[in-house]
């Protein structure tokens, strides 16, 4: 992965830059080596880079001052939330200021009358739900890393989760943001009224991967918890039958709250990891959540049960809340469990049209034979969002290279069937060089001009999302060695 060259003149001015930032944020500048080491990577652990300096502002004025200073001095900026990005979005630069938003973590207002919450960007996703759940509300997007990932990071990545099949991504649950532009201006876009009075800049900022500015305040919708939620687990003798079942459920018009797929290998690894009670010996398992009023949920559960049977599967319903929680805890621990299965793995993230599921599953099996590498599948089937995990051993010569080629072929397969490179992890540095497989040069140039509309000097998160002209063939992935993740305790995808 080739990143824009380091500006040695900026690196040489390090002491002066650190001093200037201390003027702005006296208690929040990290400049010592051991302190900076904490920030040298996000969750895409194959990539490490110590930042020039890390600054941790505690209010929006400080953010504005930092950005004004950086722009005046021509210093690159890398924004960072909790550092849980799986695509390298927060990978620092040797010549760049890493601006960490973790200290801005106040919940500013809970407004039940209007069904919304206003927070600073460092508040974790789960803490929004925790703040309102006693009153029967929750925040719908639920990325698996929700105990740690921040809402500012969710906005930057347009994060999804297990339940976005019914409730949408971050962008569909966001009412407004306060945003600091690269020049330091503070703008408020949208708000409780749900309108912007012009172009949908809120929609553009959401998912912009830190390329356009820094989010300093977020207004999100909260929803009433559904009165009834029921969970079904279905097992199948073939992976293809499970894929066909997913397509049949969607085609039937049932909208489950979540529909998750895992193949037999993944299910067995998870079962041995935290014993959620998955049936062993199946080729594939589906977990389906239905929520809403009682009659709607009953209808959905019985329809899904019928379709599972028609597709040759066996369906079992969770009998109580405890069993539901266990089934989901297994799913959320999938990544950690897989880490026990093999010395190394990489995780992909593409989306395909749902009718293409059986075909893509077959093709992936063929690629597995071609590259002589094992893989398993755990993914958000209802959305067609795949997370194939490729298993390899970095100690065996050539395996890492084969694994990377296998992964790139999977993403190309996704694009070939009309899908995309990333369903929810973002492009970051990980899939940057595959962007040319999905977009024409004109399309990439247009997106580049949109970035310039915000960031004339190109100082924000350089080297992320868009391939440089001198693109290197190497592609990065989430690389896990010996089951060691950057945040090993965190549930994933």
């Amino acid at each position: 992965m080739l990143l824009p060259p380091t500006n040695a003149r900026i690196v040489a001015r390090r002491a002066e830059i650190v001093a200037a930032l201390r003027e702005i944020v006296p208690d929040g500048v990290v400049a010592d080596e051991s302190g900076l080491a904490t920030f040298d990577s996000d969750a895409l652990s194959a990539y490490h880079q110590m930042p020039l300096v890390c600054v941790l502002p505690s209010n929006r004025q400080q953010v504005s001052e930092i950005l004004k200073y950086a722009q005046a001095e021509g210093i690159p900026i890398v924004p960072r939330g909790s550092g849980t990005s799986l695509s390298g979005g927060a990978l620092p630069r040797e010549d760049g200021i890493l601006i960490g938003m973790g200290r801005m973590k106040r919940i500013l207002e809970i407004d039940y009358e209007n069904g919304c919450v206003t927070v600073e960007p460092g508040v974790t996703n789960l803490n929004i739900t925790k703040a309102v759940e006693a009153n029967g509300f929750y925040y719908a997007p639920d990325p698996s890393s929700q105990v740690a990932c921040s809402i500012g990071g969710n906005v930057a990545e347009n994060s999804g989760g297990l339940h976005c099949l019914k409730y949408g991504l971050t962008t569909n649950n966001l009412l407004g943001v306060t945003f600091v532009l690269p020049g330091g201006e503070i703008v408020t876009i949208g708000g409780k009224c749900g309108a912007q009075g012009g172009l949908d800049l809120l929609g553009l900022i959401t998912g912009s991967e830190g390329l356009l500015g820094v989010v300093v305040e977020v207004v999100v919708k909260i929803l009433r918890k559904p009165p009834v939620t029921r969970t079904l687990m279905a097992s199948f003798d073939t992976v293809t039958a499970a894929g066909a079942c997913v397509a049949a459920v969607i085609a039937d018009g049932v909208v489950p709250a979540a529909m998750e797929f895992m193949d037999g290998r993944a299910a067995e690894a998870i079962e041995s990891y935290n014993q959620p009670g998955y049936p062993l010996g199946s080729a594939a398992i589906l977990i389906v959540d239905a929520d809403g009023v009682e009659a709607d949920v009953s209808h959905a559960i019985s329809r899904v049960t019928e379709i599972v049977t028609q597709c040759g599967g066996k369906a079992v319903e969770a009998t109580d809340e405890k069993q539901r929680a266990r089934i989901w805890s297994g799913r959320k621990a999938a990544f950690a469990a897989m880490g026990k299965l093999a010395p190394d793995m990489i995780c992909m993230d593409g989306t395909i049209p749902r009718h293409a599921l059986p075909f893509v599953l077959d093709e992936m099996a063929k690629l597995s034979e071609k590259y002589e590498l094992g893989f398993c599948n755990v993914f958000h089937a209802g959305d067609g969002n795949l997370h194939p995990l490729i298993i390899f051993d970095i100690m065996k010569p050539g395996e890492f290279e084969r694994a990377e080629a296998f992964g790139a072929d999977i993403l190309r397969l996704c694009v070939k069937v009309g899908g995309v490179l990333s369903g929810e992890h973002g492009v970051g540095v990980e899939k940057r060089d595959l962007m040319t497989d999905m977009f024409t040069p004109e399309e990439l140039a247009l997106q580049g001009r949109v970035k310039c509309a915000f960031d004339v000097q190109g100082l924000f998160n350089p080297g992320k999302v868009f391939p440089t002209l001198s693109a290197c063939v190497e592609q990065g992935h989430i690389h896990v060695h010996g089951a060691q993740l950057p945040h090993p305790h965190l549930p994933r995808f």
Partner: protein, 383 residues
Amino acid sequence: MEKIASEAQAVEFVRAAREAKAPFEIVAGGTRRQVGKPMADLPRLDVSGLSGIVKYEPAELIITAAPSTALTEITSVLAEKGQRLGFDPADWSRLLGSNGVATLGGAASADASGSGRLRHGAARDSLLAFRGVNGQGEAFRGGAKVVKNVTGFDLPKLVCGAYGSLCVLTELTFRVFPKPPLAVTLCLADVEPEAGFAALRKIALSALEPAGLAYLPAMMMPGVGPQIGQGAALIKLEGARQPLEEKIALAHGLLGQSVQRIEDDPFPAIASGEKFADVPGHVWRVMVAPADAPRVAKELNAQHWLGDWAGSLIWLAAAPADASRVRAIAAAAKGQAMLLRGSPDARAALGLYAPQAPALAGLSRAVKAAFDPLSLFNPGRLV
């Protein structure tokens, strides 16, 4: 006026316009031409030939159509398979006195969302992908025909509500959803705005997934009879028979009383603005936080008004002299007042929305320039 019927022709037309540095107005059905700042006397590009459903995949819950496809065609094709468009498009043609045909591209470009926005989101929430021609005369795509995608900037959001200021659209892909077999409207009659909106918010913040929540003063519901009293809170619920009965019972529980059902669906006439078609003056859509609706409605003090989206959208008719007052009330409530119907002079003076803060206005212009550097497309209408 030049007429095009394909993306290739759109490319050719834009390239020629670029060469000549000649801006133009994009027109399909023409029903929304009278919205936004008037654009002098520009040549028109007639895109009504870009019509027809390209691919409808009921099993994938996706439909791809050319932008000038009539909304009625889309709706009926989807209904045959028991489905509906991902958003609830509003047809304003009667309000705006147009005989044209409301199109899918027009509804998306105006982000014209009806009462169902409450539950289903706006056009921007269900537009997955589009194709268009930018100001360089290049055909391009935004988004992808899958339901979950974070690859690159989310351009479909931008083209919704852009009023044709960014590109010539040539194809749109929307999510579709199963259409609930039944719908019923409950009517909480004889309530003042304060109590009526409070009841609507209670339902909005429940798990009943209402399809429409509006408050209408009595004079906006002629013909319903004297039992409406001061006004009515209308609650539209959807579902199969059994879930619907359950939702109705839960709604009665939340309201603390049993309320009457209305036979005919009153929401289409609310969303289209046709209740204001024969009322003189400006017609505004004022968007505020829902809990502010009673206060804002009182301050606006309009004779003809109603509140949709549980209060978040207040429609009103007002005399031209009241324009700055309407804008000031919306601004004080941190809301937006959109001038939907007004004379060309009024629209030129007031714009579609109040002027943005300088930094935001600059950003909007820069984003338009990224797509359309010579400002060829609908210049000044929105940006």
